[in-house]
């Protein structure tokens, strides 16, 4: 296990947590977004990185979490309880869906998982008696000073990011992680050495969605308004996978590095090239994936972070 990875991660958390005390609101907001995406990318890492199943269902479960949280809050459930409820519902739904979806392999699995995003969006926009349909939902606002809200949400998102990182560390160093890595490298052989591949994949998939549900619910409470097309974005799903790959899928720090790099790049491009930002961002991503196919952390400069050879990957 890489001690450096844990120390670097702890330092990074401290830097992000300190932003409200020295920087303006814009930076605090960026820190929140970084923590949020890091949580999602770290979650994705369990299924996409360790098990090698490129899930594109992130947005489906983030959106589901948003809606469960928002609907509960609208119906009078206290905020924190609503977040817990969202987490629980997402866990159960992903367990049920995972058991079906993980019969697919490779590209078929990726396509099947991305369909979930669209499916959930359609349900959210059609079931208007509960979800408000296309009009969206207003979530009760936090009636505090704006700075306090920022600080509070930042701390919550950072806590989720720490949980997601801890989950990665635990998974990587136990049978579950070992089994998932066997599955990534040779699923038939994994079956033959006694790995219950279906159970392991479903467990991995479930772990990759749980905290996404919490993030969604917290996000809904933060922004105060959600609607189907914003909650279930294909773009979000792709972004999260790109972040993990950019940093280095299957490593502990990769998703964190990838998420931070991506968010900062996105902000810089947005600020400087307002009308061309999507195109420029796209070119940058293509460039990075082309020249760093194994992620930033697998370049020579970071070899000290790779303590064991178990996680090396050439496949995306």
């Amino acid at each position: 296990m890489s001690r450096y990875a844990v120390i670097l991660f702890a330092l990074w958390v401290v830097v992000l947590a300190a932003t409200p005390f020295f920087a303006e609101n814009y930076v605090v907001r960026a820190a929140i977004v970084i923590a949020m995406y890091s949580t999602m990318a770290l979650s994705w890492n369990v299924i996409g990185g360790f098990a090698g199943y490129p899930s594109l269902a992130t947005a489906a479960f983030v959106g589901l979490g948003s809606y469960v949280g928002a609907v509960s809050q609208v119906n009078g459930v206290p905020m924190v309880l609503a977040w817990a409820l969202a987490t629980l519902v997402v866990a159960l739904v992903s367990l049920a869906i995972g058991a079906l979806l993980l019969r697919l392999k490779g590209h078929y699995f990726a396509i099947g998982s991305i369909v979930l995003v669209e499916l959930f969006r359609l349900i959210a926009s059609s079931w208007s008696s509960v979800t408000g349909g296309g009009n969206g939902l207003n979530v009760p606002l936090l009636r505090w000073e704006p700075d306090d809200v920022g600080l509070f949400i930042l701390m919550v998102m950072l806590a989720l990011m720490i949980l997601a990182f801890a989950m990665n560390v635990v998974v990587k160093n136990t049978r579950l992680g070992f089994g998932l890595q066997c599955i990534r490298q040779n699923e038939d052989a994994a079956d033959m050495v006694g790995v219950n591949t279906t159970k392991y994949k479903v467990a991995g998939f479930m772990l990759s969605t749980i905290l996404c549900g919490t993030v969604g619910a917290v996000y809904a409470s933060w922004v105060g308004y959600i609607d189907p097309s914003e909650s279930f974005q294909i773009l979000l799903t792709l972004k999260v996978a790109v972040m993990a790959l950019l940093g280095g899928a299957g490593t502990l720090l990769g998703p964190v590095v990838g998420a931070a790099t991506f968010v900062i790049l996105e902000e810089v491009v947005w600020v400087n090239f307002l009308s061309w930002n999507r195109a420029i961002l796209g070119v940058l991503i293509v460039f990075l994936i082309f020249f760093l196919p194994n992620g930033i952390l697998r370049t020579g400069a970071f070899s000290f972070l790779r303590s064991d050879g178990a996680s090396g990957s050439k496949r995306a």
Partner: protein
């Protein structure tokens, strides 16, 4: 345990219109080494797949220590001690040699601590003689050593029955002799072994009994020297010249 370790009762396997294995019944005793021969496509590998649950039998029964295991899944077979190696070696390419074997110990044997699994893995690597490569990625091994890795991986699962699907194919004769010694040592531990092989030298040296498959049917079984003389076997597989040579040499 007195009964056979494995018993097949009229096992058949069909793939669409092709009958890959038909009506095969056989028994495997504890500690026995049985050779399985037959032309390419005779159904040898399919039979192993039926026993390990990769392609469950379409009819008939597979009994393992008296239990009906016809419908068990491959990972269940592996955990219960029905282990196999593949004709085409199947390592986890990016893991080290040690991690490959540890996987066998960890999941096949249900050891839950990684450190214990690594200790067990070292023992098995030493047994097959490739412990010096423990920290190398499995994909860097030579073919002969990859086959040994497959063996170590299977042994780490504490098998009751080991099915060796052409572990000697593609090896030179010095490597084959090494492999033969190894298989004998494994058999001495009381593990029942089914050897699938085209190299008659291997089959004749190791087997206490030979099974011959042809077009999915078991056309002969029994004492190696009798089977090799069986006209049906000579016609289907060995050829006249070879049969004569084996009999002429009296022993291989």
């Amino acid at each position: 345990m007195s009964g056979p370790v494995i018993e097949l009762q009229s096992v058949a396997r069909r793939f669409g219109g092709i009958q890959a294995v038909r009506d095969v019944s056989l028994k495997l005793e504890e500690g026995e080494v049985v050779g399985m021969i037959g032309p390419n496509g005779a159904g040898k590998t399919t039979l192993v797949n039926c026993i390990t649950g990769v392609h469950p039998a379409t009819s008939g029964k597979v009994l393992f220590e008296g239990r009906d295991v016809t419908r068990q899944r491959p990972f269940e077979a592996a955990r219960s001690g029905l282990c196999r190696t593949f004709q085409v070696v199947q390592p986890f390419p990016e893991m080290t040699v040690l991690q490959n074997v540890a996987a066998g110990a960890l999941f096949g044997q249900k050891i839950s601590r990684l450190s214990q699994a690594y200790d067990a893995a070292h023992e098995h690597l030493e047994f097959v003689g490739i412990d010096q490569f423990a920290d190398m990625p499995a994909s860097n091994l030579t073919l002969a050593n990859r086959k040994r890795l497959e063996l170590a991986k299977s042994l780490a699962m504490k098998p009751r029955v080991l099915m060796l699907d052409e572990v000697n194919a593609g090896l030179n004769s010095a490597e084959i002799n090494g492999a033969l010694d190894l298989i004998k040592k494994i058999s001495d531990q009381g593990i029942s072994i089914i050897v699938i092989e085209h190299l008659m030298k291997v089959i004749m040296t190791l087997s206490q009994r030979i099974l011959v498959l042809h077009h999915g049917e078991l056309i002969a079984q029994g004492d190696p020297r009798q089977v090799v003389n069986d006209p049906k076997v000579v016609e289907a597989y060995l050829g006249e010249k070879f049969a004569k040579r084996i009999m002429g040499n009296d022993h291989v």
